[in-house]
Amino acid sequence: MHNSSTGFGILSLVTFLPLGAALLTLLIPEQFGKTIKAVAILSSIVSFIVSLSMLGRFQGGTFHFQMIEFVPWLKQLGVHYRMGVDGISIWLVLLTNLLMIVCTIFSVYIKHRVKAYMVSLLILQTAMLGVFLSLDMILFYTFFEASLVPMYFLIAIWGGSNRTYASIKFFLYTFSASIFMLVGMIVLAKLHESATGVLSFSIIDIQSAVANGRLWANAVQLEVLIFWAFTVAFMVKCPMFPFHTWLPDAHTEAPTAGSVILAGVLLKMGTYGFLRFCLPMFPDVVRAQVFPIMVLAVIGIVYGALVASVQPDWKRLVAYSSVAHMGFVMFGILSLTHTGMMGGAYQQLNHGISTGALFLLVGLIYERTHSRLFKDYGGLKAQMPIFAALFLIMMLSSVGLPGLNGFIGEFLAMLGGFESSASHMFGLNWWFPVIAGSGVVLAAVYLLWMFQKVFYGPITNVDVRRLRDLKLWEVSLVGVLVVFAFWGGLYPNTFLKPMEAAIGATRLMALNPVGERPSWSDLSMEIDKKGNLVQVTPRAPGGDLEHFQVERIIAPAELHFRMEVERTTAVFKEVQARR
């Protein structure tokens, strides 16, 4: 179906614009540092504007990929240049480009090897955007791994004192985990070949074969293995509990822009991969695998929070808090309820904004004092009231205060997790949301403790005593993120609406039996206003996707799991009797 060349379009432009800027930057001699910075900043702003125009063309009511680009490439291998965007990826693209503006502007503080730095940053941007936009597994894998290289250099060259160790650990750890994913991709493509006769690495083709049940029909025992091959790669990237140790080192040692990008975007590649591969491609085994992953998510939430609460280092604390927050994302996604998955997907964005902003703020102060240790601070609020106010807002967003963005995602994710737990789905039980909920308390513990250490109390450090407040441009830099924190918390519908159809379809792909699964290749399928999977009047590819005529309901949405009070009561009584 998608196999006639469309040529390159806006998605390619969005993806490769930074790369072009990087090449341009390479031509500028090193001594024109200001020009290099200007080019990078300009490029990131243009990228953002272009991605906004992409958003303008985006149609929110459908789960199908839009603005699809197909350029034949390696025909014999079934690998082609395929790009497309849907409700999940579009916000990640915008988040990437937004944070990139912040990062390039902040990077005026970089003083040595500016050219190499900016080139790394811009190449990294292309790699990240490529991950979110590619619809071909090999292309995805290429971008996924390509993002490691510039990040490696960012940490290894411009990082902190322990940067060599951190960068090598980061590279090797995430790289070796994604090897499993590559194996999984090849197996998927071969299975697709044996099922349909066509070798294809296209995500759309493979998902379609999965949806109609042909792909796994003859390889039932393989499905769970391949599921874990993908899952391990994404769990390391996320990172989830036992695979998280690369993160504190990398986050702490990375330069500020690196930390912002790492926390804001790179971690999302893991959860995005989960939504894009692990749920739609393995519908027969997902249910059974929810339990172990949920266990890890819940452990991660509490564990990350506990460890964060005793860190002596500012950045390390925020880094461990990422472990906890990404635990919430996974908790929501893996609940496989509509609410929870929406929450998880939304929490990705929020985490990018709020943790990104926290790293940025830490970076601003680090530029001044060159210390990340709490013992060097105290009483900063009297000295830098604007900085303190900005930090407070972003901290509260991270705490999950209602009215700020962090709350919406966390709340929905927890609610979703609660719904499937309370309904005893997937072997889950009450303990999951109860323990995960304690993570919210612990979040307050470590974040307020951090705030107290840095901002309250008397000023004990003479360095701090002489600090001026933030400059205007710095305030507006953080201010952009603050605006999004409020926007995301007060009117989340802006962001939730466009992703709803895609999330709903992903959920049905994972949960429904053969014949009732949405298929990305079948344009006559849609998700209607109530979330049902419906048959619609056929439309031309690329036509109006939002307004469709419903012909019949293929599968009802069942947005909520049935929770029988009788059953819950019985379980509760059983627990009581056991005591």
């Binding site: 005793v310 206003k529 947005l559």
Partner: protein
């Protein structure tokens, strides 16, 4: 969108928010522009005005609501859709009904008075604008809390007021103890919110999970108009689920309203400025739990077991806090524990099923507790910010207005009355609570009438209340000695650590700046600017109480609110009780689960009993404290009797909890980090790395680095291959 007079409610909500924004963005600029005196007047006025206007509008709306027939006193207005996904819809909707309007009046009315008071109280504060920023924001959040038509909005307000409480407790953040108190308040509240959110989730899960039975279409699972009718349908036959929901929500109420396991943040919260204690930690925010129980009373009524738990927790807290109050010497701490204790009364009412009595007590308590706090603030203000009652005595002579107002408050909280004729505010509400509890119609579980038990406990606590409040009043205003006259030079301050900054002025150290040598100039203040800043800071040094101090009555902006509140404390209860005005107002339609709960227990002469409790308590108090401070409660703690010493330390409950949470948790988390995360988890990761390195190390010996060695190896390899092929060919040749 806006088409009825009720739409004025958006103004009520919006005005404090506008006030907040104005103060946050321009407050400091106004003060800088107009100079300290005029600027502060301006900022203070801008803070009081929105709240007072909101109050006026609130009165109008309440009046209009009261004009409509009881069953029509229920207006829902929608502003926009907050969260809308297919499975859940949380609109930004307000609900105007008697309950919410009562709270609105308390919040804006008492709030406006306290704002006015604060303009005087905080007048010497440098961060004047910041204070009113927080205070206005608090009012805005509190209004969202009470006006919201769903649990989502309630939760915005719920956590929002918690945030303002956090900010205001830590207002004087240079003292790390205040910052810690603020943290404690937020975190303990978060524990409550944990239960609260789980309760909300369970409501959604239960309702949405039984979707087919209910036929709710738009997913507004958190809206009261969906929850309350449907909860009855789903939960009526399922006591366990109902009980769990009620208890989870009650955990939230325990946090916010400072009930027993979670009360311990409230006494520490007294670190904030006194108007904050009056507004947030006495009159409004801490009653949010009671408000929530009232709002969702159906859910609680569905479970007698949960009601029994609530009544018992309330009674125990009332008793526990009253006992602790006897060991306190800090005037604000006494009032703090008294607040905890009174909140306990409100929960007794809710547990016993007389929800309206709980709200009644919320209202009267707002009057007299705000009065007492503001009065204590006036005393503290007059006594150079010394809060220890052991330094007071005979202050009525110097502070006649404050003293008279405080005496009204004292009598009101004691619940004194002329039986069958007239009572002060506290009397009527306490009477309703105890009557409802002693009637014992609701909180019955496992055959035990916990309502009755908590009623009797409550009666005892009423006597204790009268007694410790007498202690406070006598130590402060009466007696023969003016004890601050005998002050030793310094060192008596147990509760008010000095604000002196501990900075070391190491001028030489300034030379260390600019380690990078670039662009540091605009990061740091220059020497001259530093001098200016230090000069400014030295201006507001703190005076301390000294033996020659003569207290002076406070300014009108401070005593005027006292007088208003005193009048309300005298007549408010009587007015609201008349013709059962308040009861009729607050509980219009009969509750769907419980019938009306009587407040007239049979066979108990409650009027005389409560009179005896109040009068007896006061009498006993006068007997003990009439002669001033005794040695047994003096500065030397070793002369105190063990009970009182234990009471002073909250019977070691706080120490144990904080020790376990902070100390134990810290040790555990550090251990987790160092021994598990760094050693085990990361150790495994690095172990894999070392393994690879080790295996590689075995082969590295081959790399000698000698070119000639490599060449020889190459030739040997080439010869080897050659030999192999020759052998291969010869073999096949032989084969042929």
């Amino acid at each position: 969108m806006f088409n009825s007079t009720y739409d004025l409610i958006w103004l009520v909500l919006g005005l404090p928010l506008v006030g907040f924004l104005v103060h946050a963005l321009f407050g400091k600029a106004i003060i800088d522009l107009l100079g300290a005196r005029l600027g502060k007047k301006m900022v203070g006025g801008l803070a009081v005005l929105p709240i007072a206007t909101a109050f006026a509008i609130g009165i109008g709306l309440t009046y209009q609501l009261a004009q409509s027939p009881p069953e029509a006193r229920n207006v829902t207005l929608r502003l926009f859709d907050w969260i809308t996904i297919k499975s859940l819809s949380v609109p930004f909707e307000v609900l105007i009904d008697p309950l919410s309007m009562t709270m609105v009046l308390i919040i804006t009315g008492v709030g406006a008075l306290i704002h006015l008071y604060a303009t005087g109280y905080m007048s010497e504060e440098r961060d004047y604008a910041r204070f009113f920023t927080y205070l206005n924001l608090f009012i805005a959040f509190m209004l969202v809390l009470v006006l919201g038509n769903n649990l989502g909005l309630l939760f915005i307000g719920w956590e929002g007021v918690g945030l303002c409480s956090y900010l205001l407790i830590g207002f004087w953040y240079k003292d790390i103890a205040n910052a810690k108190a603020a943290n404690k308040a937020f975190i303990v509240n978060r524990v409550g919110d944990w239960g609260m959110t789980l309760g909300m989730f369970l409501i959604v899960a239960v309702l949405a999970g039984n979707l087919d039975r209910l036929g709710v279409k738009d997913g507004r699972w958190l809206s009261y108009d969906v929850i309350l009718p449907n909860a009855v349908n789903v939960l009526r036959d399922h006591p366990v689920a109902a009980t769990i929901i009620a208890l989870l929500l009650f955990i939230g109420a325990c946090g916010k309203s400072a009930q027993f396991p979670l009360y311990l943040w409230l006494p520490d919260a007294m670190a904030g400025p006194t108007p904050v204690s009056a507004l947030i930690h006495a009159a409004t925010m801490v009653t949010a739990g009671v408000f929530m129980l009232n709002r969702l009373h159906v859910l609680f009524e569905l479970s007698p077991l949960a009601s029994a738990v609530i009544a018992c927790v309330g009674a125990f807290t009332a008793l526990f806090a009253a006992l602790i109050a006897f060991g306190q010497t800090d005037i604000k701490k006494v009032l703090a524990y008294s607040t905890v204790s009174q909140l306990g009364f409100m929960f007794i009412a809710c547990g016993a099923g007389v929800y309206w009595a709980g709200m009644f007590h919320v209202t009267t308590h707002a009057f007299f507790k705000a009065l007492l706090f503001l009065g204590s603030g006036a005393v503290i203000h007059a006594m150079m910010h010394d809060q220890d009652m052991r330094n007071y005595g005979r202050l009525l002579k110097y502070l006649p207005i404050t003293g008279a107002a405080m005496i009204v408050g004292w009598l009101a909280i004691s619940g004194i009355s002329i039986p069958y004729v007239f009572g002060l505010a506290g009397y009527y509400s306490k009477e309703a609570i105890l009557g409802g509890a002693l009637a014992g119609q609701h909180a019955v579980a496992n055959g035990t009438n916990y309502g009755l038990v908590s009623g009797w406990v409550g009666l005892g606590v009423a006597a204790l209340t009268a007694m410790y409040m007498t202690r406070m009043t006598y130590l402060t205003f009466f007696g023969k000695q003016e004890r601050w006259r005998e002050l030793p030079a310094h060192g008596l301050h147990e509760t008010h650590p000095s604000h002196e900054s501990q900075i070391v002025h190491a001028r030489d150290a300034h030379e260390n700046y600019g380690r990078d040598g670039h662009a540091t100039a605009d990061f740091f203040y220059s020497e001259s600017e530093m001098a200016l800043r230090e000069q400014l800071e030295n201006e507001d040094h703190h005076h301390h109480l000294n033996p020659d101090h003569t207290p002076r009555e406070v300014s009108i902006s401070m005593w005027f609110p006292l007088v208003v509140l005193a009048l309300l404390s005298i007549f408010g209860g009587w007015y609201l009780e008349r013709n059962e005005l308040f009861k009729e107002w607050i509980s219009p339609g009969a509750s769907p689960v419980l019938g009306e709960v009587s407040i007239h227990p049979q066979g108990i002469q409650l009027v005389w009993l409560s009179f005896a409790a109040a009068a007896g308590g006061i009498f006993a108090g006068i007997l003990i404290y009439g002669r001033g401070l005794s040695e047994r409660e003096g500065w030397d703690l070793s002369k105190w009797n063990p009970f009182r010493r234990a009471a002073r330390r909250q019977f070691y409950y706080d120490d144990a909890m904080v020790g376990a949470a902070v100390g134990g948790g810290g040790i555990f988390a550090t251990g987790l980090w160092r021994w598990f995360d760094a050693a085990v988890v990361d150790g495994m990761v690095n172990g894999v790395g070392y393994l690879a390195a080790g295996v590689g190390g075995l082969f590295r010996k081959l790399q000698t680095g000698y070119v000639r060695g490599y060449a020889l190896l190459m030739f040997a390899g080439a010869l080897g291959f050659l030999g192999y092929f020759v052998w291969l060919i010869s073999r096949t040749a032989v084969g042929q």
